[in-house]
């Protein structure tokens, strides 16, 4: 067993886990943050995407020990008492998710994109979501939702033409 401690969604968290435990397992099983999903366990699908020091990472590929002392943001860290994150609101409004299993990973990747680039082109969005597989939607409405959220975050109204 090794002790790991990290900041998760702004809170100091620690756990004692076997050394081979992944960041995803610690988040899901020790911290009960089940929003990040296990889709493939090999870094292909992106369902497990979380932010580590602001960078989107496949949590199934990172050992818990590697997250020691770092700042983790999961899907549960986006909404607060005042409301949902604009991305979450836009994804809901446009029904951008169907089964929803890919959703948390997609939204986290999109959040990382918007933090770096507040006015992304469709190609930028496609690039940013290229590590997130969705089997249901065909991505179109996700891209629209990211554009809507970007507009809201820039202080414009959602349905203004791009």
């Amino acid at each position: 067993m090794t002790d790991v401690s990290m900041t998760v969604n702004g809170e100091e968290r620690t756990a004692s886990v076997p050394p081979e435990t992944t960041l995803l397992t610690v988040l899901r099983e020790n911290f009960f943050l089940t929003g990040s999903k296990l889709g493939c366990d090999v870094g292909d699908c992106g369902a497990c995407t979380v932010l580590v020091d602001g960078i989107p990472v496949n949590a199934c590929l990172m050992l818990a020990g590697q997250a020691e002392g770092r700042d983790i943001v999961t899907i549960e860290g986006l909404a607060n008492q005042d409301g949902m994150h604009p991305l979450q609101q836009a994804f809901e409004n446009l029904a951008s998710l169907q089964c929803g299993f890919c959703g948390p990973g997609v939204i986290i990747s999109a959040k990382a994109l918007l933090e770096e680039n507040p006015d992304p082109s469709v190609d930028d969005i496609r690039d940013a979501l290229s590590g997130n597989l969705c089997r249901c939607t065909g991505y179109t409405k996700m891209i629209e939702a990211v554009q809507d959220a970007a507009r809201i975050m820039r202080g414009e109204s959602a349905d203004e033409a791009a």
Binding site: K37, C40, G83, A95, C102
Partner: protein, 464 residues
Amino acid sequence: MDEKVKVADRGKTLEDLKQTDADLRLPSVVEPAHFPIETLAPEARQQTPAVGQRATRPDGRLHGLGQTKYIDDITFPNMLHAKIKRAGIAAALIKSIDTSEAEKMPGVMAVLTGNEIPVNSFGPSYQDQPVLAYERVFHAGDGVAAVAALTEQIAVEALDKIKVEYEPIEAVFDPMLAMQEDAPKVHPPHDNVYATKAIKKGDVEKGFAEADKIFEGRFSTQMIEHVPLEPHASIAEWDGNGRVTLWSSLGRITLGRADISRTLNMPINKIRIVGTVVGGNFGGKNEITTEPVLALLSKKTGRPVKMIYSREEEFIASTTRHPFIMDYKTGVMNDGRIVARKVRLVLDGGAYCSWSETTLGKACILSAGPYNIDNLHVEAFCTYTNKTMAGAMRGFGAPQVCFAYESHMDDIAHDLGIDPLEIRMLNAFEEGSLSPTGQVLQSVVVKESLQTAAERFGWKEFSK
């Protein structure tokens, strides 16, 4: 009428009554007080012009918040984790299964093999699939033993300790070879061809004789896995009163309940299935997989048992889309009119029937395409091979035949020097056309749709 009896809503309009009814309904997702939202979805029972409306999904918010509970997000105190050992050999007789080393491992709580399953067979149409293979292996993804342990990791390690002795037997992988008389039988004594269908309309030979030109082509499609983002998952809990509750990603829980009752040989009222939100189905989660195994492991241990398929198991041990081999022969007049068509479909069903019959039927009916053909003969066969079983997948055989008849159509148009759109307009169904099985078709807008689509994406400009 007795004046004392009050007729509550007399004088109210139907609209009022509907409103009362709507007011009594609870919203499907309770709105959290701190997330005020205006929903874009129309109110229940409110008449709206649905087409062209933007709609949201009632479960969309929880999906985006990461709060939807799929099976793997559910956990119970003292829950165990199960894993299944896969055969890794396509066809074999099982000589022995030795689980003793695995049972000795610390953390292993129970091991299960096929002989412990009360009725070790299931399937939505034919019960030709063992829950856990015991005497014979039919394809490499067959489960041969299951382990329930304190952690998934221990369960995986325990699988390595299970020793299975196989006597390899001849396997068959090619559906065309499997159809031959002397092919090794996948399920002896039964023939490999387990489902057939034929459709005859008019006189196809006469049609060919009258045709100006005959075209022939063979088309084939490959096996496709559904790859739902959420792998197959279930949790079983056997309680002290001999009842079992299953939380499952199963898409057809009523059918599954009957199958589970049959395999466990216990009354259906003792089985409760909780269907959770499914993380993608696409037809692949339409039948039971590990549920009876988990139920029995839970019975053995007195603890809840969870199992999630690995991505690899998803590919080798869950159903797939049928690979098709499709032979088309079509007689046409020089102007492009189709006068006769003969179709022969061979479906590779893999090791078990699953939803093959449904797929075969639909593929047959649709195999001629949306075209008026007076003389038609379709014959179709579904055959066992020692491969991962094929089952339901979006469209039940329709996409495969569509690929074939439309590719065939393009070949014909090209050869005759006719525009591909023209040849379709010439032959396409109209209002009142007869389908190959004699159904009078209504609301037929094939031609209008083709025309509109061609205009919108600039077909003329493109084909210049």
